[in-house]
Symmetry: C2
Subunit: 402 residues, 2 copies
Amino acid sequence: MLTQTLKGFRDFLPKEAKKRQYVIETLKKVFESYGFEPLETPALEYEEILTGKYGEEGDKLMYKFTDNGGRKVALRYDQTVPLARVIAQYGDALPMPFKRYQIQNVWRAENTQKGRYREFLQVDADIVGSPSPLSDAEIIALAVKSLEKLGFKNYKILINDRSLLDSIPKSAISAIDKLKKIGKDGVLKELINKGIPKEKAQLILSEIEKKKPTERINNILSYITPIGVKPLKCEFLPTLARGLDYYTSTIFEIEIDGYSAGSVCGGGRYDNLIGIFAGKQIPAVGFAFGFDRLIEAMEELDLFPKDLNTSNVLVTVFNNELLDKSIEAAEKLRKNGINSELFLDPEQKMEKQLKYADTKGVPYVVIIGPDEAKNNTVTIRNMQTREQKTIEIEKLPDEFKK
Amino acid sequence: MLTQTLKGFRDFLPKEAKKRQYVIETLKKVFESYGFEPLETPALEYEEILTGKYGEEGDKLMYKFTDNGGRKVALRYDQTVPLARVIAQYGDALPMPFKRYQIQNVWRAENTQKGRYREFLQVDADIVGSPSPLSDAEIIALAVKSLEKLGFKNYKILINDRSLLDSIPKSAISAIDKLKKIGKDGVLKELINKGIPKEKAQLILSEIEKKKPTERINNILSYITPIGVKPLKCEFLPTLARGLDYYTSTIFEIEIDGYSAGSVCGGGRYDNLIGIFAGKQIPAVGFAFGFDRLIEAMEELDLFPKDLNTSNVLVTVFNNELLDKSIEAAEKLRKNGINSELFLDPEQKMEKQLKYADTKGVPYVVIIGPDEAKNNTVTIRNMQTREQKTIEIEKLPDEFKK
């Protein structure tokens, strides 16, 4: 029988799933420390709520179908359009500004050859209803604090005001955005390839490089230091454009030193999108983490804690007669707040039980054989050093509380 | 523009989302304390992996469609068939017994008039690869400890061995299962309605009531007390059948006293299902919580903590000149581990800022006006009692650490 996942879809076995949970839980804690609250929206929405909001490309990549009741439905494509629907639907019941985070999967029928996935987790935090640059500053600070909490120490925040690009022909923007990556010559070449005469291209580029921060950007930069973001980490980059059309002023990206696959976080102010369902302008600012990139960067920089294993202790079972002793020991450990599991197959040889601890990455094993049972002791084996020691059963929890 | 969710699909606004998170996090901690580890599988699977596994009814309620690449796909319908696929796909890479929990949404095109949802969270914990009754006992203990951790004190575990029903005609089983609910007369009536002669029906019923626990059930009951489940909570109920055909021996349900909508947890041993993809018998035992029922029961019994609010403190902003002081205070609180948020719109009147705290359920508000700024103090307002007091700014974190 077929046993495979669809292209672009992934299983997360325990080892990976625990890493993901660690990142999610860490981010949630930081988000909540700033008063951001969770929001969940359905995986399926009426198709008409989603279509036309993500451009032609989006409509093409969307998972759409007709349900059993003949309704045209589509799978969540991002978390911003659902947020806009929620704002229109519940309006006055929500506190304003509405600060929410949302951590759910989205689905896009991407070309998987580019290393993209068709199901991936999005991590969004947004502030809806506040036009103040203070909100922009808090969003940037929140992203920075999140990264620091995950262990990233060296990073750079690139910031710009999208309105500075208003005078640039739309077709030129994506080329200019690449300045940091491909250099001046590269950008010029791309602009010329797009049919812009060389002189005009040079003019566009030199003009944009001369731009000064807007009042909003200066305000943000002045707020951001008291909130705890080191000013040296911030760089005003007038060529930064970001792909999405919907940004209206502030835009920013965060790059991690030593991780080259791209920025791990991006966001900005988008004052015209959230109101589309409500039929009025509603200011908003927010960011998204690239969750898969975060995981990859943490992997590369070795930032995951070493003790993400679920169980601290495996209590083995010597034989059926001594099972009660083992049950008791495991229960005693758990009562003292130590994650510990009992080996569940008393018929298995000790060797197999130790191998189980190895496969699962359980660092300590407790053995209660006839001698231990007689003397009210237990033997503790350190799975890494293979050292063993025998202690009184009463002292077992203390051994792991240290 | 349309702003509504599909029938049977729900948004969870922050207040509800936080309750859900609280339950999920509590359950995860208990699961992990027993060595159960998280597994995630994709929302979409090849249709052929899912079809034919849930009976005719299941195939009808499944969300199926053809994707852009012409593949026939279906949305996750439960978490057991994906588990069976995972076991076959990764086999030897997994520790055995494989103890996993899985907490993801499933989708079923149910008749919503019965108060059923089309997208709902499933909470499953299973042990794959161990035939031992010790595993059955641990699964039941795990369910019980989870409920106790959530605050449920009075509950009843109903337990039976499905094999005791082997001699009963299949058509009679669902009627017999209702004995506790509709009484003897009710069951007899239903059996007769199904075309079973009255005498035969009486015989079936009296026979089943005389059944004694099997050796497996006795073993489970003997293990379960040392694991910490009070024996009085367990009732052997030979008429318990549970709906699903796939159970092979142990079955159990847990009912909460004072919550009448039905059992909140059910499970059992199913030794023939997990191996269908691997082409061999693989023993397994597990349970599922009815997540929506859990939430409802906790609501009814008032078991949610009162302090699920995200922020402990709202730091208001008196005016733009005093903004720095407020930023500083909020940051100081956060640095001391106190969730606190800054009001993000310095132009708003104090009254509106207090209303925001009220809407969001933030219990304390900090005010720094000109007097406070001059004297290096802050005023703290208790939003419930409306009491205010002014303290030195240095002492602010201590005020909330208590």
